[in-house]
Subunit: 276 residues, 2 copies
């Protein structure tokens, strides 16, 4: 988060929040991705929960505006109106993410909103939050087929060849959605036997497959074990072909991760879970 | 995602997107947390990238409205105006997250936005995305002091007693921010010697401490190893007191995780990194 007169940037965007500012940043980032030709510096100012901190934020924003010679853009999810009123006075383009939509929702629901600060994430002592932490621990313990004894507790078991994206997807599902996601590699021994690992037959309804283009797989494996048989393109072609034909034979739904982000893979897995 | 006449819910909220819908859901969830007395069912409809899928979404929304006997709320981040125009016709309260803010930004920047779909997350082949995956692999390999050889590559090294929140925070920093976050436990042997583990002195500027209330720590450890010395309250009190005095002595910044979510802890760590 540089706060200097760096000329590589055209404008500065601030994300202001009484909480972490993650919601403002996620949303702002999505909008700003529509302006790909602009060089935008982004600065998150979290935990603005007093008018004193609001005044400091105003100073910071205006200082940056003088450096940039353009007024900054400010995305705010500030809930408290006294704090918001301070920031609104800054010389900036102020976009109020909160009020813009809370007001129509109040009309639609016919009730007033609570206007309480820092409510956007589950409190650390809520059940939903504890479930997320439990899911992270579960996914770590059940990464890469390490453990079978508790597979019956899994919400989903991702299968696929080594390095096709199972681990990051499992962790994302656990962390963001509290999904207990185990993962299990399909390895050459399984292809020789022509069968899934025995443990998996018991939980077949929970399996979801990931695959990947052999060329991309070879690249990823080269980074990990350069020059190895494991990373050789012909070996990657063999493993991927075998894994895909096994998944087809066993009737396992699967998708290719080659050009997909973790978020896209996880969203497809969640859709599949919802349909079950 | 139940799609039934479940009477536990007052209203249904749909998140519509041409991509994963994660931005819409994060934002909508934050707004709706202000209406805590309402029982809201939420349904994410991702990958709405054709007018055909838009028509299906309209049917789904209107069917739900008839079941609920209240029109649904629809948060949309749809970028394509032809697709958006279809959904807008549904009998619902339509909140257009995209157009509401893209238009003022176009005026402010003096340029037109690209109106391209599915741009909100880094493409799976971008450098930022590869950095995130590399950071996840790094954080997994450097979890719980497993590996020292590459600690010089770490952006931050979290330290603290076992089960104070180091692992989920490291993974969150890696996954969401591409931060290479290692973590290293402070254990009774360190307290006996009265020194940090030797490996850490070399990287002292990268250390950030986590602590936790002993009562909460005992609860968390009881779940893991019920009835053990490890989980006993007096042992937790001892370890936490020793760890905190060690961090104070060594001048390590630290925070208490007791009532904080991963997102809040990670935000504070990021602020600290930005100040360095």
């Amino acid at each position: 988060m540089p706060d200097t007169g760096d000329t590589r940037y055209d404008r500065t965007v601030f994300y202001l929040s009484d909480g972490t500012g993650i919601t403002a940043e996620t949303f702002g980032h999505s909008l700003l991705s529509q302006f790909e030709d602009l060089r935008l510096r982004t600065v998150r100012l979290p935990f603005i929960d007093s008018t004193e901190k609001a005044h400091e934020a105003v100073e910071r924003i205006e200082r940056q505006g003088r450096v940039d010679r353009h007024r900054p853009i400010v995305f705010s999810t500030l809930v408290d109106s006294a704090i918001n009123d301070v920031v609104r006075q800054a010389n900036c383009r102020f976009l109020d993410l909160f009020a813009t939509f809370v007001e129509p929702l109040e009309v639609e629901f016919g009730v007033r909103s609570s206007h309480r600060m820092g409510r956007s994430h589950a409190a650390a002592d809520s059940e939903a939050y504890r479930n997320r932490i439990a899911a992270i621990n579960f996914s770590l313990a059940h990464d890469d087929g390490q453990q079978h004894s508790e597979l019956h507790q899994a919400d989903v078991i991702l299968v696929g060849v080594s390095r096709c994206g199972k681990t990051p997807t499992s962790l994302y599902l656990a962390m963001q959605h509290g999904i207990k996601a185990a993962n299990y590699p399909l390895i050459p021994e399984d292809f020789d036997r022509g069968r899934l690992p025995d443990e998996l037959y018991r939980h077949k309804a929970k399996l979801f497959g990931l695959s990947i283009a052999p060329e991309r797989l070879a690249e990823v494996r080269q980074e990990r074990r350069p020059g190895s048989r494991y990373a050789a393109l012909d070996n990657c072609r063999y493993e991927v072909a075998e894994a895909e034909s096994m998944m087809r034979r066993e009737g396992i739904h699967w998708l290719s991760t080659t050009t997909k982000s973790i978020e896209e893979i996880a969203t497809t897995v969640l859709q599949q879970l919802a349909e079950r």
